[in-house]
Every structure is written in structure tokens, then in C-alpha cells.
């Protein structure tokens, strides 16, 4: 294994350009698993840990900026994240255990592109913007366009995630919900993971709604059919049932080593139902 250590951003981008096959190393909680199994034998590693600026979390006039190297612990306890983007704080709280939260980063979580990434439903409903940087320049990628498939991103050669921009919605949602359903209370991979935002009009009709589920498709899914079906409707049982019948158009869970398709489908449905019924 070859280790490249970048002192600063410029050097990191230069090195990455020269060694595009290198694997960036942030907290290492995903990479080290591969290292342990020998998958990284002979690979080149680009260590980002000295890019201190990239670990910052900053409140901005529009929302919050979270550097790619910010750890889940830093995110979970950050006052602005907690008050303005509580679902992200809650999801960071459910990642691995405390040790993993202290070490793992948001950038690493995204770049790893697991179908079960637990921050993704929150990032999806907050419509996060991913800022990337390479020797050639900077890009802003909507979160909905960052994944290309299982364990695949749309990052280009030599491109790193620099940070995540979260914009505070113009009106505050009247309901926010997050729930992870894993294999146990900690150190658990999700069977299904949910985040939802809801805005209601004065007449109790749905002004806007954003729902997302993870672990039930190749990557996180916004539930577009359900969202569309509910927008403008009163949240009565009929509307909810009608919307939920569209669930199988939005997600495609499978049987695997951790759970079953049926369970994932049923529980995802239950999670949405209890969110819509505020239970």
C-alpha cells in the first residue's frame, strides 16, 4: 500500500491529479474495512486528514456549510445543524456507534455511496448541494445527482468532495421526521431509513412535502410519486392510502442477508404512515 499525505488543499488536488487511481482517506472507517480484508493491498491512498479547513461547520446567512471532513460527532452536536437541520443531526447520531461517529466523516459517507448511507435521506429532503473541487476547478452538484449506483458516485477523475451546503427552507416545515431501522441498536446497517419534511397550509392541505428512504433501492430515493399525490391534498386516511399505494413505484427493496423485501416494504410503509399521522 502506498500512502500520499497532502499538507493542504492545493497539494491534495495536485497529488490526486497525478494519481487519479488513489483512494482518498478521510476518517478511514470504510476504507479500513477494505484494508483489513486485503482489498487495498497494492493500492495508493491519498490522506486528507491534514486539510483542517475541510473539517469546519459554519453557519451561513442561507443555512449551514459542512466541510467534507466534519465528523458525525461534530455534526450531531453542532447547534446550528441541530436547530436548522435536525434530521441530519439525528441521522448522524445513528451512525455506527460513538467511536465510528468520532472518526467517520460526512464526505466519506457520501463518497462511499452505500445504498444504506444513513445521512442520505436527510440530505435528500434538505436538498443538499455537494461542492466538489479538482485541479480543474469547482462544481456544485445537487444531492439528487451525486450517486450513479451502488457504491458509485458521479465524481469525476481527480475530484474530491469539499463540503455540503444546506439551505434553510424559506418557510419552516411544520413537521420533520427521521427514523432508522437497523439490525440492532448500534453498529447496524439499515434495513430501511426514513426522513420526511412536511409543510401544511392553513386549511390543513399539504403545501409541500419531501420524503426519502434509504436501503430500499440502489441508492437513496425521494418518494416522488407519493409526494406528488399528496401535494394539495388534505391528509385524510383516504389520501394517505392512495399515496401509499404508489410506494412500490418509488422504492425497490430486495431480499438480502439482513432482511426481506416484504419487511422492508411493510416497514417503509409504516414509517411513512406514522410520519403522516404525526405518531
Amino acid at each position: 500500500m502506498k500512502l500520499l499525505t497532502a499538507r493542504d488543499e492545493r497539494e491534495a488536488l495536485r497529488l490526486y491529479k497525478r494519481y487519479p487511481e488513489a483512494l482518498p482517506l478521510a476518517g478511514g472507517t470504510d476504507l479500513m474495512v477494505g484494508w483489513n480484508t486485503g482489498r487495498l493491498n497494492g493500492k495508493t491512498i491519498l490522506d486528507l486528514s491534514r486539510l483542517k479547513d475541510w473539517a469546519r461547520i459554519r453557519e451561513t446567512p442561507m443555512g449551514v456549510w459542512i466541510g467534507a471532513l466534519a465528523t458525525h460527532t461534530a455534526i450531531r452536536v453542532h447547534p446550528a445543524v441541530k436547530s436548522r437541520f435536525p434530521l441530519l443531526a439525528e441521522s448522524s447520531e445513528t451512525i455506527g456507534g460513538r467511536q465510528i461517529q468520532n472518526q467517520g466523516t460526512l464526505g466519506g459517507n457520501i463518497a462511499n455511496a452505500s445504498p444504506a448511507g444513513d445521512t442520505f435521506p436527510a440530505l435528500a429532503v434538505y436538498e443538499a448541494k455537494i461542492h466538489t473541487v479538482s485541479d480543474a476547478g469547482r462544481r456544485v452538484v445537487p444531492f439528487s445527482e451525486i450517486f450513479a449506483g451502488v457504491k458509485q458516485t458521479t465524481l469525476q477523475k481527480g475530484e474530491l468532495i469539499e463540503g455540503v451546503e444546506l439551505t434553510t427552507p424559506s418557510t419552516e416545515p411544520c413537521r420533520q421526521g427521521f427514523r432508522k431501522v437497523g439490525t440492532r441498536a448500534a453498529q447496524a446497517i439499515s434495513k430501511t431509513v426514513f426522513a420526511g419534511l412536511l409543510w401544511l397550509n392553513k386549511d390543513r392541505t399539504v403545501d409541500d412535502i419531501r420524503l426519502a428512504l434509504g436501503s430500499v433501492a440502489t441508492s437513496v430515493r425521494r418518494l416522488e410519486h407519493i409526494e406528488t399525490s399528496l401535494t394539495g391534498q388534505k391528509l385524510d386516511p383516504k389520501a394517505i392510502t392512495r399515496a401509499l399505494n404508489l410506494l412500490s413505484r418509488d422504492i425497490h427493496p430486495i431480499d438480502d442477508i439482513r432482511s426481506t423485501r416484504d419487511y422492508r416494504m411493510l416497514v417503509s410503509r409504516n414509517l411513512i404512515t406514522s410520519f403522516l399521522n404525526a405518531r
Binding site: 483489513n36 480484508t37 486485503g38 493491498n41 456507534g97 427514523r179 431501522v181 439490525t183 440492532r184 441498536a185 448500534a186 453498529q187 447496524a188 446497517i189 442477508i257 439482513r258 432482511s259 426481506t260 416484504d262 419487511y263 411493510l266 416497514v267 409504516n270 414509517l271 404512515t273 406514522s274 405518531r279
Partner: protein, 730 residues
């Protein structure tokens, strides 16, 4: 100041806490090479050839196959049916076929990518319920179960199933081997039973016992998983050491350890029970089948303990039990905490729920009418003469958990439409025979010594292994109190067969009760010898040294060795399975409180109450640790642990997907130790290690039944099963 009954600093605690304890992979050995194992990838096949492919620097490595074995190609245990290296045929996937050693560990592993085995497939049996190859059977008959069942007021018939379970010790299997210039084979590693290894190496290397030395390294847990398996890894490391003419180290990684080494035997138990109008158990008709895997290993002994516990801690005049163990083409199963009893007790206990449904009498009330007490007769005809604390355990748990009231509260909660969960509390009670089954101890003839060195140190000599259970401290406490000296004055000799006598294997909670008993006697004799020279036991090191010099005379130590003596009034017939199966039994009761989420069907374990009669807690903190740890392990078996097999290969052989409980999954536990002393145990002690593993699973299923109305005669009960069950109910 007596130490028995008090918490004392763990003898090995400080080293473990500060990271200075050396586990086998930490021990530096100059010039050592790393050994890896080539394993078969199919369940049953003729091996047509092994090819070592181009592209790997084979000249730097040493390769061993079956033909390099100097003696017999077998892993000596009960039957010698298991080859050390598969020769011409593989009977399970992941069977060792060849060994490779290289100076560099990563390179050694890489070599595995350059080995190709050609197979000619043979028909395989992977599902033990379909296997017709019976390796061993046992039967127990008492009274006339058939007739009694016919006459019973209510009868139930349930088929119970329990799965494999992985020991999941914190340290994987690992062993080092080398040959001394005089030809002595030395093995050092992670292990429970050093003398088992000595005996296993003899036929392989055609060496006399004196030329085989086994040393226990600090061991990170065993739970039975390092009882017999180290025989295999020892043989492998030694074969490589012989051929490479240098020390060899073999350390399994987690994946290899989980997929290739032994697990708890899965079992299916067809259990029929009948009660009379008074709720008394009048008939039991039980059929047990366990899965041995591809070879016999310790399966007959596991099956034996299984059948001996199958009727539970209850009186029943008419019992008919048949037990068999069958062969499959899967990796062999072996020892695991509880050793067959958790399997059969699961059925015995959970069946009360069915009897309760049938009779409309509460399951706990039914049990209370049948609990064994002094004078009761077990299924083998054994009469319990002393030390039966079962009722005390039951009463304690019922009272501390407010069991009846809690059940009522839960029923109310479950009726409310707005409750986010369903709640349930379940109960179970068990017995567990302490020490070896039947005449095991008689055959073993264990020895243990206490010595006084010339420099005035008391040293315990046993081959009993500290594997995290606290045996070092427990044995030192027994000896220091028997001698009447401070705890700090007593030490343990290294667990090295060249220095300690064969005190038998570290299994079945026999270390404290049996080996502790031998040491107690030795210490008492040593005390008498000291008092003969010095009137009373010295209270200062200086005086002790004086006495020690006198006692030792020309030798460097004064040693007292005791040997196991069979108590005259304990008789067991191995052929008819009649008589005193165990010298004594421990007893336990438990209540498990849990809730099931109505949205996700996840089970949350809220609280455990348990009371366990262990005779005497030599060190209460250690005992509590055993109970909490064992309970957690059993809770994992009940709700999480599900080895998934495909073509006889475990698919989830890693902690990401083989789910064991984390600290956050472990509920608070209210542990009460009950002490009904056993006259032959040191200070009254009997076994503690296994009951915590025996008892939780049926109580969990009973609690889930109250919560959801669903009866699962199988484990683990997963959210997926509950979801499907609720969907079925509509």
C-alpha cells in the same frame, strides 16, 4: 481475613486492562513464519488434485498436504473420524486440505489465490432434518409415557427449532508451534484444554507425551469454541513447523474463524407433554435430533447433556426421550456454553406456554406445581438429595419483577390502540448439571497441586485455563481461605503442561467445583503440614519462608497433589442412562421484559430479572459477570444470531451481518445469587457458567407471545418474522 464470598482484584486484570497481557499474536518469536490454510470450497467431493499455480513465489514458501503427516491423519477425539487434512475426499466446505507458510503474513494469504483444487462432486446432505446418517443415539425411559399421555387431561405437541450459534469470542483461534532441538513439540496459543492437545498430537507425530508441551497464551474468550478446535490448528501449525524447520504461527481472521470453526449444534425437538387436572406433569415424550456436521467431534457428549436436561427441572413420573445426532456435509459443530442443554431446555420451557393455553392455567402457576425439590426423582431416576434452590430462584424472580402485576399492566397497555408498542414479560426456570456428565470425572482422574516454594510462595498448579471467566482469582480465593493466608500470597503457575498436572479440561463449570475442590483438599493438607512444623499458619512472609525451608528440605518446593475420588454414593449407568447423571445441579429462574414496536416490529429488551442458585459465590462480582455476560449471549441467540448458509458455507461470517448484541442492546439486569450449598463443592460451590445461556431464550419467546399473540417455537425471533406473523393474523 476470609476472601471467599468477597470481590477480589482479578489476578490477570491489571495486565489485560493496561494492554500488557500477551495474546498469541502479540508474542514476539524470532524467525517465525505465518501459516495459512487451503480449504475446500464444496460440501462433498472427491479431491482429484491440488495444483499450485504459477505466479506465486512457491520457492519462498512451505506447503504441507496430507502426505506430509508423519503419523495418523486424524484429529483424535471421541471417534477418530476427522482427518487433520482432507485426503482424497472432502466432507464439508471449508475443510482443511493443505497448509502454506511464508515469512510474510500478507504473502501467505495471497498464496491462497494460487491454489486450485479439482473436485468430482458427490451427493451432499446439507439439511440435517433430511439426514439419515445417525452417528449416535441415546434413550431415557421412565414409567410408561405412552399410557400416561393417553390418560392426560391436556396434552400438547410442538416442534421446536434452534439454530447454530457462533461463540464470537473476542480473540480468534490462534496457535504457534515449534520443535525444540531435543525433538520436543511445543505449542503455545489460545486454548481451553492443554492436555486435549497433548493427546491429539501424539498419534499425528508419533511422539510420547513427554515430548509434547502445550502452553496457554493469554486467551481472549472460549465459550467452548477453544475446547476441541485448537487440536486442529495445533496439528496444522506443528506440521508446518516440522516441514519448515522453524516456528510457525497460525492466526485466523474473523471470517475464517466464523465460517470454518465449530458452532453450537442446531436442533429440532419434537416435544409432547401431558398434564393432569391438577396441572401436574404426567407424561413427556420427546424426540431430539441434533446436527453434528461432517464429523463426530464432541457431538455425542453434547447430545448426552441435551437429553439429560430435556425434561427440565420438573418432576414427571412418565418420560420417554429419544435423542440422535446426525451427520451433514457442513462444518462440524462442537462445544458451546451450555453444551446441548440450551437446545433441549428451550423446548422444555417454552412448552409451558402451550400447556397454559390448553389448560387455561397460567404458565408460571403450572411450573410451580411441578418444580423439583429435595427428594424429587429426575428422568434418569436420580433422587435429588441436597442443594436444590429452584423454588427460591422462582420466588425471588416473581417477587422482584412483580411478575403477575407486570403481566396485567402489559395486557392493559396492549389493548390501547394508541400504544406505540406491544409489551410482554416472559418467564423460564432451568436446572443445569454441574461438571462432567455421568462418569466423566471418574475417567478423567484429574490432578491438581498446591505447592509451597522454598522462598515462601504458595503456587497453584493446574491445567485449568483462565479464559476470561475469572478462574485464576476464584481458585486463588479458594486456596487462600483453605490455607488461612492472604489472597495476595497465592499465585498460579503458568498453564504449561511441562509444569502443571492434568486437572482436566476447562469446561462445564468444573474448574471451580471440581478443580477448586481438589485444590481445597490439597491446601488443607498443606496447611496441616505447615502447622505440624510451625504450630500455626505464619502471618508474615519471613516466618513463612522459615517454615517453607524446613518443609521443602532438599527440594525447591513442597508439593501436595490431590486426585479426583469418586464419591461412593454417586452412581451412573452409561448404558441404560439411569442414575446420578450429575453430582449436583445449579438452578435458575428469569423474567424477561420487552416490547415490540408497532411500526417496525423491532424488539426492545427492557429488563431482566434473574436469580441463580450456584451453591456459593466464591467471588460475587465474577459470578455476576458470568450471569450478565451469559444472559447477553443467550439474548443474542434468541433475537439476533442467525447464521445463514448457502451450499454449506456460512454467508454472514462477519460481525456486520452476524448480529450479536451491543452494549446498547443489552437491558439492565437485576441479578440475585442464591446459595444452597453443595456438600462436595469447595465452600458449597457448584456450576454457574451455563445457566445464563440456558434460560433466556424461552422466556424471550414467552414475552413475545404476550406482546404480539404470536407463538414462535423457534429462534431467533426477528422483526421480519413478527411482521409476517402479524400480516398473517390480519
Amino acid at each position: 481475613m476470609p476472601t471467599v464470598g468477597h470481590d477480589r482484584l482479578r489476578k490477570e486484570g491489571p495486565q489485560k486492562l493496561t494492554g500488557t497481557a500477551l495474546y498469541v499474536d502479540d508474542i514476539p518469536v524470532k524467525g517465525i513464519w505465518h501459516g495459512v490454510t487451503v480449504r475446500s470450497s464444496v460440501a462433498h467431493a472427491k479431491i482429484k488434485g491440488i495444483r499450485f499455480l504459477k505466479g506465486f513465489p512457491w520457492r519462498q514458501a512451505v506447503v504441507v498436504t496430507a502426505k506430509d503427516i508423519p503419523g495418523e491423519n486424524c484429529v483424535h477425539l471421541i471417534e477418530d473420524d476427522q482427518p487433520l487434512l482432507a485426503d482424497g475426499i472432502t466432507r464439508h466446505a471449508l475443510e482443511p486440505v493443505a497448509l502454506i507458510a511464508h515469512p510474510d503474513r500478507a504473502t501467505a494469504y495471497n498464496a491462497l489465490n494460487f491454489v486450485e483444487i479439482n473436485y468430482e462432486p458427490l451427493p451432499s446432505v446439507l439439511d440435517f432434518e433430511k439426514s439419515k446418517k445417525i452417528l449416535k443415539t441415546f434413550s431415557i425411559k421412565k414409567g410408561d409415557a405412552k399410557k400416561a399421555m393417553k390418560k392426560a387431561w391436556k396434552k400438547v405437541d410442538t416442534t421446536f427449532r434452534v439454530p447454530h450459534q457462533e461463540q464470537a469470542y473476542i480473540e480468534n483461534n490462534g496457535m504457534m508451534a515449534w520443535f525444540e532441538p531435543d525433538g520436543t513439540l511445543v505449542l503455545q496459543g489460545s486454548l481451553q484444554c492443554p492436555y486435549y492437545i497433548v493427546k491429539a498430537m501424539k498419534p499425528i507425530f508419533k511422539l510420547p507425551e513427554e515430548k509434547i508441551r502445550v502452553i496457554q497464551a493469554v486467551t481472549g474468550g472460549g465459550f467452548g469454541g477453544k475446547e476441541e478446535y485448537p487440536n486442529i490448528i495445533s496439528g496444522h501449525a506443528a506440521l508446518l513447523a516440522k516441514k519448515a524447520k522453524r516456528p510457525i504461527k497460525m492466526i485466523y481472521d474473523r471470517h475464517e474463524d466464523m465460517s470454518a470453526t465449530t458452532k453450537r449444534h442446531p436442533a429440532v425437538i419434537k416435544h409432547k407433554a401431558g398434564i393432569d387436572k391438577k396441572g401436574r406433569l404426567v407424561a413427556l415424550d420427546i424426540d431430539i435430533v441434533m446436527d453434528a456436521g461432517a464429523y463426530v467431534t464432541l457431538s455425542p457428549v453434547v447430545l448426552s447433556r441435551g437429553i439429560l436436561h430435556a425434561s427440565g427441572p420438573y418432576e414427571c413420573p412418565n418420560v420417554n426421550i429419544h435423542a440422535s445426532i446426525v451427520q451433514t456435509n457442513t462444518p462440524p459443530n462442537g462445544a458451546y456454553r451450555g453444551f446441548g442443554a440450551p437446545q433441549t431446555l428451550f423446548a422444555a420451557e417454552l412448552q409451558w406456554e402451550k400447556l397454559a393455553d390448553a389448560s387455561k392455567i397460567d404458565a408460571v402457576k403450572l411450573r410451580e406445581r411441578n418444580l423439583v425439590k429435595i427428594g424429587s426423582e429426575l428422568s434418569t431416576g436420580q433422587i435429588l438429595k441436597e442443594s436444590v434452590g429452584l423454588k427460591k430462584c422462582v420466588d425471588t424472580v416473581l417477587k422482584r419483577s412483580r411478575f403477575t402485576a407486570l403481566r396485567r399492566d402489559h395486557d392493559k397497555w396492549n389493548k390501547k390502540k394508541t400504544s406505540p408498542t406491544w409489551r410482554g414479560v416472559g418467564f423460564a426456570s432451568v436446572h443445569h448439571g454441574s461438571g462432567f456428565t455421568g462418569n466423566g470425572e471418574v475417567f478423567l482422574k484429574s490432578k491438581a497441586s498446591v505447592t509451597l516454594t522454598k522462598s515462601g510462595r504458595f503456587v497453584i498448579e493446574t491445567a485449568s485455563s483462565e479464559i476470561g471467566q475469572g478462574s485464576m482469582s476464584t481458585l486463588c480465593q479458594i486456596v487462600s481461605d483453605a490455607l488461612g493466608v492472604p489472597y495476595e500470597w497465592v499465585e498460579l503457575e503458568a498453564n504449561d503442561t511441562s509444569r502443571v498436572p492434568d486437572s482436566g479440561p476447562t469446561v462445564a463449570s468444573r474448574t471451580c467445583m471440581i478443580v477448586g475442590g481438589l485444590l481445597y483438599r490439597a491446601a488443607k493438607q498443606l496447611k496441616a503440614a505447615i502447622e505440624e512444623k510451625a504450630k500455626k499458619i505464619p502471618t508474615t512472609p519471613a516466618v513463612l519462608k522459615e517454615v517453607a525451608k524446613k518443609l521443602a528440605g532438599k527440594k525447591s518446593v513442597f508439593r501436595i497433589t490431590t486426585e479426583y475420588e469418586k464419591p461412593a454414593d454417586i452412581e451412573f449407568d452409561d448404558t441404560t442412562y439411569k442414575g446420578d447423571a450429575y453430582g449436583s445441579y445449579g438452578y435458575a429462574a428469569i423474567a424477561v421484559d420487552l416490547e415490540v414496536d408497532r411500526t417496525t416490529y423491532e424488539i426492545k429488551l427492557n429488563k431482566i430479572w434473574t436469580a441463580q442458585d450456584i451453591g456459593k459465590a466464591i467471588n460475587p462480582l465474577i459470578v455476576e459477570g458470568q450471569i450478565i455476560g451469559g444472559t447477553t449471549q443467550a439474548l443474542g441467540w434468541a433475537v439476533f444470531e442467525k447464521p445463514i448458509y448457502k451450499n454449506g458455507v456460512m454467508q454472514n461470517a462477519e460481525f456486520t451481518n452476524y448480529i450479536i448484541p451491543t452494549a446498547l442492546d443489552t437491558p439492565p439486569m437485576d441479578v440475585v445469587i442464591i446459595e444452597e450449598p453443595y456438600s462436595r463443592g469447595p465452600f458449597g460451590a457448584k456450576g454457574v457458567g451455563e445457566m445464563p445461556m440456558d434460560i433466556p431464550a424461552p422466556a424471550v419467546c414467552a414475552a413475545i407471545k404476550q406482546a404480539t399473540g404470536l407463538f414462535f417455537p423457534e429462534i431467533p425471533v426477528t422483526p421480519e418474522m413478527i411482521a409476517a406473523g402479524i400480516a398473517r393474523k390480519g
